[in-house]
Symmetry: C2
DNA sequence: CTAATTGAATGCTGTACACTTTTCATTTGT
DNA sequence: ACAAATGAAAAGTGTACAGCATTCAATTAG
């Protein structure tokens, strides 16, 4: 072990009587926490090579989502990781990892909001609604939308999508062979998708949590 | 740069006239390649903390699968990673990452065996069939089965499952409230699932590749 | 006064490396 | 002859760390 000695002052490594240099110790300096491409800290883990494309895809999606969210200043959340991790029955007893087996009948169940609202934790995320364009569908400002990105965005469903990089909630429709993102409020116009616009559907809204 | 000099013999680092010690250079010594928990080499990649439970689950599933496969000496494959990685349209143009958007209508398509047989590359794997218990379903020994583990194993489907750690292919049935793994060959008996047996359903067989 | 420049501080990132685990020819024991 | 013990070799594994990127107060210029 190697010891170095400092006088016990407030800023041990940098005496703040330095005369003419810029910089020096300054509160607030330095890169901010959570300034990675994902908006959160990362950790290095080892992955078998055949799984790397799959993981890389997940990472790219997460990164792209974070970019869009940042530019829209929207509020996107993901189910609490710890809770879900605990709840996944991994080859224990009669349930295959993540996929319910028919033998489920024999297992007693207790009702849990997570179980009720989140079918596929890995494919679920939450978005806080903004604006009043979907009032008719029961979606009020600041409501929390539960989104399943594994569901196919069929016509008639309410979807979360990024249109030219902007995040919106609309009902998916088709009018005369043209895709339409329909608002559910007469005050707001429907959005007709042109050939050259970039539409990315993130997932299908399955539930709305509204605070009275 | 540091240079050391060796006489150019067959085993430079170890002169093989060492008299009494054990070991020394020996061809074939050392840990074997692919002796990791996954049966293949791994690489360290950085993952945002909120995705770690999801990735960890994937790893545990892969590990558990490899263990079972090893103990059964079965032949399980996964779609070639490079090919799939290239094919995933990641937020480009009008297609959302991995999930087809309705705007697909406007994109020309070419037929590809991969597209035809593999709906979800990340959830698909291949198993080489053994035995003749499923001849009636057109599954011969050494056939390659295409398995989708994202499909729900409903009654009547042919599934890959691990019963008490042993890998089998059977048709899923129910007789008098009891789950039955039914063979498709009168010579072989059906398997009735008891309360205390560990049944893990890996996925649903979607196609069979048979060599004439 | 306002805007541009500067450089220290601090978090992020990839990967090198120390340590562990596995394997097997050789040695040693019976 | 056979079996157990041994230790070097080689691959696997986690993580520390050097270098990179970002931020912002102090400084300088206009």
């Amino acid at each position: 072990m190697l010891y170095t000695f400092h006088l016990l002052t407030e800023n041990p490594p940098m005496p703040d009587d330095s005369p003419s240099k810029r910089g020096g110790f300054r509160a607030g300096a330095g890169r901010k926490k959570g300034s990675s491409a994902y908006g959160e800290t990362t950790r290095a883990i080892r992955v078998p090579e055949s799984l790397i494309p799959e993981v890389t895809t997940m990472l790219a999606i997460r990164k792209r989502q974070f970019e869009t969210v940042k530019s829209c200043s929207a509020d996107v959340l993901v189910p609490a990781p710890r809770l879900n991790a605990v709840k996944i029955p991994l080859f224990i007893g009669k349930v295959a990892a993540g996929f319910p087996s028919p033998a489920d009948d024999y297992i007693e169940k207790t009702l849990d909001l997570n179980d009720l609202l989140i079918k596929k934790p890995a494919a679920t995320f939450f978005v806080r609604a903004e604006g009043e364009s979907m009032l008719g569908a029961g979606i009020h400002p600041n409501d929390i939308l539960i989104v399943d990105r594994s569901l196919k965005p069929v016509l008639g469903k309410i979807v979360i999508c990024a249109l030219n990089g902007e995040l919106t909630v609309k009902r998916l429709k088709k009018l005369g062979g043209e895709i339409v993102l329909a608002a559910e409020n007469p005050v707001y116009p429907d959005i007709h998708i042109r050939e050259n616009s970039e539409l990315v559907i993130w997932g299908v809204v399955t539930n709305v949590i509204h605070a009275v």
